[in-house]
């Protein structure tokens, strides 16, 4: 009876299923995008190969939100600490018009190579001039760049000197001196990546830096990675919650309207069921089962929708990392969608259960 009723009203069924599917797709894509953004940033930061990360006080683990730069000479003092193998100062530059919330790393190639082990060049070579830029392979693919191309960044024309394998901090690298020049931050750096002679000395080196630079943000790479969650990013959790709330509201409202109109349309049928002795619980059960069925089909359609949207996004924006659907979030999205559908159907179901049988039977 439930399946027959759902199939008997195809337009209503399609609209309801679509609403739930959009709800589930929205939840999974928003979560996939935000966690993808964080996980991608975390992977690339870890890929630098440093053991300790040193930032001035008030800096964020999101590099694009970093605070004012500090003298690059701090790096010389860090290099003197026992068990420190190398220190790579980096000055961040943001170019929101072309890179979203990504950042350009201004690097000193020699120290960067000592900390990171150097880039893997897929084509081209290292900086030769101040207006050279290195791009990673994903960025090159997304922007159709090759060695020798001109890239407009920070209101300047840069020359692409090399394409490197992705996964080391940023997708764009320019010489440190150029970054300093363009931001009028002479002899300044935003962050110092510290490499120890052996990873076993990380705690000792971290403690020594804390003594040297009290009040600074000093973290082992492990700690730094653990901070890269949505909980530590201002307003990100609120944004996710707001988007989930919006998605659930869509599902709830459409199911509510769908069930409400269904009840009006089926008043006489409900009267017939009541004349056969159907209890309030039986009527309530029928409506809620119908809503659950619409919800379940919508959830499956939502999973398919999320996979398709992810595929389109990744295909259209190669530098955009959208995390694939996790079992945990798939379950959460399903529970939210099902709850939304059941709550949306509850009032119409209750209204149906409370219909007077004589009035319902007389309904035209």
């Amino acid at each position: 009876m439930i399946v027959v009723n759902v199939l008997h009203r195809p337009i209503r069924t399609v609209v309801s299923v679509l609403a739930v599917a959009i709800e589930v797709t929205m939840v999974l894509i928003v979560v996939g995008l935000t966690t993808g953004l964080l996980n991608d940033a975390a992977r690339r930061t870890q890929g630098i190969g440093a053991d300790v990360v040193v930032q001035p006080s008030g800096a964020s683990f999101m590099f694009s939100l970093s605070s004012a730069p500090v003298p690059v000479k701090v790096g010389d003092r860090l290099a003197e600490i026992p068990h420190v193998l190398a220190v790579a100062p980096v000055l961040f530059q943001s170019d929101l018009s072309t890179h979203g919330i990504g950042v350009i790393f201004g690097i000193d190639m020699a120290s960067w190579n000592r900390v990171s082990g150097g880039f893997v060049y897929l084509s081209g070579e290292s900086f030769r001039g101040p207006m050279d830029v290195l791009v990673d392979d994903w960025y090159a693919k997304a922007n159709h760049l090759k060695v020798g191309s001109t890239l407009s960044l920070l209101s300047q024309n840069f020359h692409v000197c090399g394409i490197v394998e992705h996964g080391k901090g940023s997708r764009l690298f320019i010489p440190l001196s150029t970054a300093q020049e363009l931001s009028s931050s002479h002899d300044k750096a935003s962050i110092f990546f510290v490499k120890c002679t052996d990873p076993g000395y990380t705690d000792d080196v971290e403690a020594a830096i804390q003594r040297l630079l009290p009040g600074w943000e000093i973290h082992s790479m492990q700690q730094f990675m653990s901070m890269m969650t949505s909980n530590n990013l201002p307003a990100l959790d609120t944004f996710i919650d707001a988007m989930i709330g919006l998605a659930v509201s869509i599902g709830f409202l459409v199911i509510f309207l769908s069930m409400y109109t269904t009840i009006t349309e089926r008043t006489r049928e409900i009267g017939i069921l009541k004349s056969l002795g159907a209890s309030k619980g039986y009527i309530l059960g029928i409506i809620l089962k119908e809503a659950s069925l619409l919800g379940a089909v919508g959830i499956i359609a939502g999973y398919i929708g999320a996979a398709l949207v992810r595929k389109v996004l990744v295909g259209s924006f190669p530098t955009l990392y959208v995390e694939s659907m996790s079992a945990g979030w798939a379950a959460k999205a399903a529970i939210l969608a099902l709850l939304g559908a059941l709550i949306g159907a509850f009032y119409p179901a209750l209204r149906a259960a409370r219909l007077d049988p004589v009035d319902a039977l007389a309904y035209e």
């Binding site: 049928e269 004349s275 056969l276 002795g277 159907a278 209890s279 007077d356 049988p357």
Partner: protein, 223 residues
């Protein structure tokens, strides 16, 4: 032996706007088990209201109703629903089949609501007797009026109710189908001692019953 239906000074008022409109003004009625009773009277005389009260679809305003030993005054809505599920079968003028279900599903629905499970023997017996065994996979729109009404009768009696309440069962049928339906009701009454109360405007239909009672202005005027 206690009658299966007994009403004493049964009254029902409907509130329409600020007015109380009396539908029943003190109905006293006794129906014995196995009796086939026809209720006749002009429109608005309270026939359907009486049937709705006896079937537990609505409660009386005052007076006493005893059906199969159950006093409706002591029963709430849920009790009356339970009572209806097990003891009452309804047949309506407009058939009232669920349009999305096949004839078979419409009949089985009554068993499903009753909760005693599907009884294939009873199902076969009833559908054979009503001559609808070949039409069970048809939806209502694919059945004639007479066939729809026979499916509705099957649905009403499939759970072996104590009382069958029929509200103008031939009102939407032509003469041939009316006669067929009346014969079915007569057969049910004779073969299974099914107690039947049938409202009708049609004197020929009423003549099929064992007894005819006439109503006017909310009262039984002759029994």
């Amino acid at each position: 032996m206690e009658p299966i239906i007994r009403t004493e000074d049964l009254k029902k008022l409907y509130r329409i706007g600020k007015l109380d409109v009396p539908a029943l003004r003190g109905v006293n009625l006794i129906v014995e088990e196995g009796e086939f009773l026809a209720i006749v009277g002009p429109s608005g005389c309270g026939k359907s209201t009486l049937l709705h009260i006896l079937g537990g679809l609505t409660g009386p305003t005052s007076g006493r109703v005893l059906v199969d030993g159950n006093d409706f005054r002591a029963m709430n809505d849920a009790d009356r629903t339970r009572f209806r599920r097990h003891k009452i079968g309804f047949v309506f003028q407009r058939f009232n089949l669920l349009p999305t279900l096949t004839a078979r599903d419409n009949i089985e629905l009554a068993q499903s609501i009753q909760g005693n499970g599907f009884n294939p023997r009873r199902f076969a017996q009833v559908t054979e007797m009503l001559g609808i065994a070949a039409k069970l996979n048809h939806r209502p729109y694919a059945l004639s009026g007479g066939e729809q009404q026979r499916v509705a009768i099957a649905r009403a009696v499939i759970c072996e109710p104590k009382i069958l309440l029929a509200d103008e069962p031939t009102g939407n049928l032509d003469t041939e189908n009316s006669q067929l339906v009346l014969n079915m009701l007569r057969t049910l009454n004779r073969s299974f001692r099914q107690t039947i109360l049938m409202i009708t405007h049609n004197p020929e239909a009423a003549a099929v019953a064992d007894r005819i009672i006439r109503m006017r202005d909310g009262r039984v005027v002759s029994a």
